[in-house]
Amino acid sequence: MSSSAKAEAVLALHRFGMGPRPGSIAAVGTDPRGALIAELDRPLVLNAAAGLPSSAKAYRTVADANARRTARAKQAQQQAKKQQIAAAPVMSEDQAQTQGQAQGQGEKDAAEMAAKQAADAIPDPGRPIYLQEAKLRTEAALAADIGFAERLVWFWSNHFCVSANRIQSMSGAYEREAVRANALGRFVDLLLAVEGHPAMLVYLDNLGSMGANSTAGINRSSGLNENFAREIMELHTLGVRTGYTQDDVISFANVMTGWTLVPPGDNPEHGGEFTFNPRLHEPGGQTVLGKRYEQEDVEQGRAVLRDLAAHPATATHITTKLARHFVGDEPPPVLVEKMAKTFRDTEGDLKQVSITMVSSDDAWRGPPSKLKRPSEWGVGMVRATGITKVDPVRFTGGQELLGEALWRPSAPKGYPDDEASWIDGVGRRLDVANNFAERLAGMADPQAIIEDVFGSEIAPEVKQAVGRAESRQQALALLFMSADFQRR
């Protein structure tokens, strides 16, 4: 391969893939666009996920454990109180008066401690599930030839984020079931899958949202939660300030009442799965964005979601975000318009939109200026060494340290995608790079990475700094920290 072909392959790997790894330049070959498109034809399944629980099963497992914890804690607390009463020394009235308060406090503490100990004896199954899911997703990114499809999964997972802080057990399965399964399909199917997924309904507070005139609403005189409807319009589809009003939000929220999940305690078979509960649903038709929806059940919400998916504002919003993520903080308007046109013409075929992006010259112009997010940088660093297995505790720990904890964004907007948000954390990346380099120094040769993995397509200043480093560890740290590694 010529040097310019290699350079183009390296750019493709950085900008659209998970970064170069041993053999990836050859995998891209002399037609980077074709190679990227070809990767989208491969099925996006994680075979290794066969052993992992479905989201509903994971949710039930945690719920069961929580119920057992509560029961054990109660038992232990009662037992501790009984023992204290039996063992209480006989005191004079004076002593009892002066010590009473302290004694009571001590008993309470002891009982609480016993309760806590009993509860802690039953470990939380949510954490190991989260780590297994994290391992699987990370290793999929490490193993991919290029990683364009995995990058799309990551993009959509962040666009339709949930938070493991709210729903740890389901966060990984949510990505597999709703996002991965639809990331190369039609946008409307992706939208229906994520908005109807229990993890999203938990995360955006829709479980207990009920219409004022629904059976449950009348009985309990509690009501509507607008959060879900608002975020769908503002973040997931139309985009902020695209013309919808507060009335639209309320109407849409009414439409979405009844979208909930089967309570895990009641149903060991289906607990944690999506269900439409008519008792929560606001009866009657609703008007959203000027259109009347008369359906009586779950179909009402599906109809609105279909229309939101087809709305022109959605096409613009989605394609702008995609282009910003892959191409640059300020993507060329021509490119966005091309992608939006494809989105509209194909009824939101996400594969075709992705193809339009990588087929357009505008997506390839300009030097690599986009600062990688910590997750991309971290996985790129590991890929360069050829390592394909990770310890999820360390890997997620590193990501968290760099401010991008996996599946834990601080708000439904997901992690930001611009340089200003991440650049101040670059200094901290040095600690991670240095640490990784130290663990690695005996196994990885920085010169070999430059020559074999990068095809020597790296700035001469970096080559020089690596060549002059005082140790392999330092050479690797400098290489990982170089702009060639940080930007794409």
Binding site: D431, N434, E438, R468, S471, L478
Partner: protein, 416 residues
């Protein structure tokens, strides 16, 4: 911050290594002779400036060579006199004390057979014991241990070497099993690494340079959270800069000593310290090199005290891949050179002397008119230690441990 008093349990040690060997039947090297010697090798990565560590103050060309950067007996602080000719860097009072009591020796103008100037290759030659560089899988210390094992001098089930650090130094890697211990506190990205990265950014990415510079400025104010192990999610506060380096050196060396001292512990070990590549603002009398030598001196103290009774039978060899230019460069530092020093310390040593066939400092006396000329083959020193301290046979040393070194005679009289 002192040496951590907690000796890791066997489990921690094994977990840290990933090398799950049974902990039993530790080697009794040279037991037949009624001795139980220990050997620890410390590799200074980055190439130590031998002239900045041990100055030839009696050489008439010394001052003209280094100018106001030359260590001198009446400097501030004054260099510590070793003999009529050499003086020690003032950052090393422990080494000076050991030297005065005969428990330290210094070899000067020494070098491995490597004559190029690449760190990686130089370290490969230094640690592999081979004449030429290349990715080799075993080091001379490991092969020495194997030789002892096959010679029936140690129990083959028990021969173990100790490696300190998350990367086992090449010198101790090989067929003989190695157990490793990883210090709790990993060394933070050194000031040198940060400076190099900043330099790289300044040439390639001004925005990243600005950010890194801000971070370095903040760190220099002190109190910045140190990364003990950034991946472990344990953001413990650590002292800034050189204090962290000192703590790391002392913890790593002190722990190695404690393992080697144990009656059933390993008998040979190796570790590496980084940071010696002083191209810019070397600071031999105060600054970078002074600080690092001070940290190394602290590590010597930790080894001495933690060896306890075993100190009597201990030898520590401190070596580096090559030296630095004899002259100061344009940025008040030194560049990659050739001849340098090796420190030998330990209760088992016959020291109190600087061993040097002094080549002189006149331009014509320098190697390629730039480096201190190597007049002592470092392999002679190491072979002398292995023969007289660990009792490895001379033939084995020439063939298996340092292949192709038959004409490099082991240096006698180092221990005893």
């Amino acid at each position: 911050m002192g040496v951590v008093n907690h000796l890791p349990t066997r489990r921690e040690l094994l977990v840290g290594s990933g090398a799950l060997f049974a902990w039993s039947q530790m080697p009794r090297i040279a037991r037949a002779e009624g001795r139980d010697p220990r050997l620890l090798v410390i590799v200074l990565r980055g190439a130590l400036d031998g002239l900045g560590a041990v100055a030839p103050v009696g050489d008439p060309d010394w001052i003209s060579l280094r100018g106001d950067r030359a260590l001198v007996l009446d400097g501030k602080p004054p260099a510590l006199p070793l003999d009529a000719f050499f003086a020690l860097n003032p950052a090393m009072p422990n080494l000076h004390r050991l030297y005065k009591s005969g428990k330290a020796a210094i070899v000067h103008a020494a070098a491995t057979p490597y004559r190029e100037r690449s760190h990686f290759d130089g370290q490969d030659v230094l640690e592999s014991g081979l004449v030429k560089p290349g990715m080799t899988s075993s080091g001379w210390l490991n092969r020495a241990l194997l030789a002892l094992e096959s010679g029936g001098r140690v129990d083959p089930r028990g021969s173990r070497a100790l490696g300190i650090g998350s990367v086992t130094p090449l010198v101790v890697r090989g067929s003989a099993p190695v157990m490793t211990w990883v210090p709790q506190r990993l060394l933070p990205a050194s000031e040198d690494t940060q400076n190099r990265l900043l330099d790289l950014y300044q040439h390639t990415d001004p925005k990243l340079a600005t950010v890194l510079q801000a971070r370095m400025k903040l760190a220099s104010l002190g109190g910045a959270p140190g990364a003990s192990d950034p991946m472990s999610g344990d953001p413990t506060l650590a002292p800034p800069g050189i204090a962290r380096v000192r703590a790391y050196f002392a913890e790593a060396a002190g722990t190695a000593a404690r393992y080697l001292a144990k009656p059933d512990g390993p008998r040979v070990g190796a570790m590496g310290f980084v940071g010696w590549d002083t191209h810019i603002a070397e600071g031999a009398a105060s600054g970078q090199l002074y600080n690092l030598l001070g940290a190394l001196d602290g590590a010597f103290a930790a080894i001495e005290s933690n060896m306890g009774e075993a100190w009597r039978e201990t030898v520590v060899a401190v070596v580096t891949e090559f030296g630095r230019t004899a002259r100061i460069n344009g940025t008040q530092g030194t560049d990659h050179g050739t001849g340098t020093v090796a420190f030998l310390i330990g209760g088992g040593l016959s020291g109190g002397r600087v061993i040097a066939d002094w080549p002189g400092l006149k331009p014509a006396q320098l190697f390629e008119d730039r480096d201190l000329k190597p007049t002592t083959d470092l392999r002679a020193v190491l072979k002398g230690l292995l023969r007289d301290h660990l009792c490895v046979e001379e033939k084995v040393l020439a063939e298996a441990v340092f292949p192709g070194s038959a004409d490099v005679k082991p240096m006698g009289g180092l221990v005893g």
